[in-house]
Point group: C2
Chain length 235, copies 2
């Protein structure tokens, strides 16, 4: 990875246009060719960037730019799209090359724990949390318009479609609505109830769910994790 600290101006042209006036910034050039322009604040997102695969070419500035203090111009062009990043370098304060990766040069992957898939797995083991007597038919029940997170059998008749979200919002209600509309046409499943299950559900989503005749269920991830059978742990 190459790290350059320089006063620079940046222009991006591609899906939209974006411009940065001159200032001192950090420019990262990664091993795969991607380029990131970072400021000394903001979030983890760079001000401007170019994803791999791309090519960096250095050229001399135009006369008028040179007069304004530009010493070099970098053009970073994407290899497949016509996205292009143009970096006008004024003064360069640092320019170092560093070696990254593990001993083999690769990067050990990131291991995550606690996302929606885990909620779904935990609730699948505890179908009775959704309603008394309910039993799991299957997770990721396939339909023509996508998989239903959990499909449960109600021994008193019919089935229950469960949409699991970390946070319940309006589009989750829309999604569940489409599933229930489809499933209830299946005579082997009807009648079908829909349940939106999430760690938190926004008021608007609750209102819309009620309007659509759908139920809401708040999940307690920590409690569910604590109660699960040790043999079925995901990690």
């Amino acid at each position: 990875m190459r790290l350059v600290v320089a006063r620079c101006a940046v222009d991006y042209s591609g899906r939209l246009g974006a411009h940065l006036d001159p200032a001192r910034r950090l420019i990262m050039v990664k091993a795969d060719g991607s380029v990131l322009v970072h400021a000394d604040g903001g979030s983890y997102k760079p001000l401007n960037w170019m994803n791999a695969p791309c090519r960096l070419s250095e050229s001399e500035p135009e006369a008028v730019e040179a007069e304004g203090g530009v010493s070099k111009v970098w053009r970073v062009a994407h290899r497949k799209t016509d996205d292009c990043l143009r970096i006008a370098l004024f003064e360069v304060f640092e320019d170092i090359e560093v070696q990254l990766g593990d001993d083999s040069g690769s990067e050990p992957g990131l291991v995550k724990d606690g996302v929606e898939a885990h909620l779904q797995a935990l609730l699948a083991e505890r179908a009775e949390l959704v309603g008394p007597g309910l039993r799991l038919i299957r997770r990721e029940y396939a339909t023509a318009i996508g998989p239903v997170d959990l499909l449960l059998r109600d021994p008193s008749g019919g089935t229950v479609a469960v949409e699991v979200k970390r946070r319940g919002e309006i589009d989750g209600v829309e999604q569940l609505t489409r599933y229930v509309e489809l499933l209830k046409r299946d005579s082997t499943l009807a009648p079908v109830r829909g349940v939106l299950a999430a760690q938190a559900i926004k008021p608007q989503a609750q209102v819309l769910a009620q309007d659509r005749g759908l139920d809401c269920l708040i999940l307690d991830y920590e409690a569910m994790r604590g109660e699960e059978s040790p043999g079925l742990r995901l990690f």
Copy 2:
């Protein structure tokens, strides 16, 4: 900004858990206290990070870690949530402090051109592009379920609701459907047509729109910009 290149292992704990095995990585500590851990590839997203406001504290490793080669441990704790990043440093290869920002220390803002708001503004000036004789009633027409991007009056009767997107996809169709369903109950507006306007519309979205009785309109941003009246330019 402080730039550290080090062999390190990282653990994040917060909304989820995430772990990185030891490898050489770049650690950026920004002026606002935020920390980014970058690998030499992937996208602009760091492998792990902590947003401001947060506090970095350095401590000695536990005995077992020290035996394993850990020289220092950084704890980066968020000030408001209980999110925490723990970085175990093995060997440190670089550790430099650089000065960023413009002469006043601040960062000139990013100027963008071509986002959805611009499309909406341009189309508002050119309502006739949606259909002959149409006139703008207003932008961001408020309804109980959210603002309609553009509401147009059709002199031959009724109104047209326009949903403007940079790229038209299925959720845009869903959104427009909800608006039209609501608006057509208003006798002062009915009958109501719905139009999805975007620079590009995915085939699936076009099919769904047709099924819902909605129209699609492909926008040419460059042409619209070229035609607009100079006095009304956004930038």
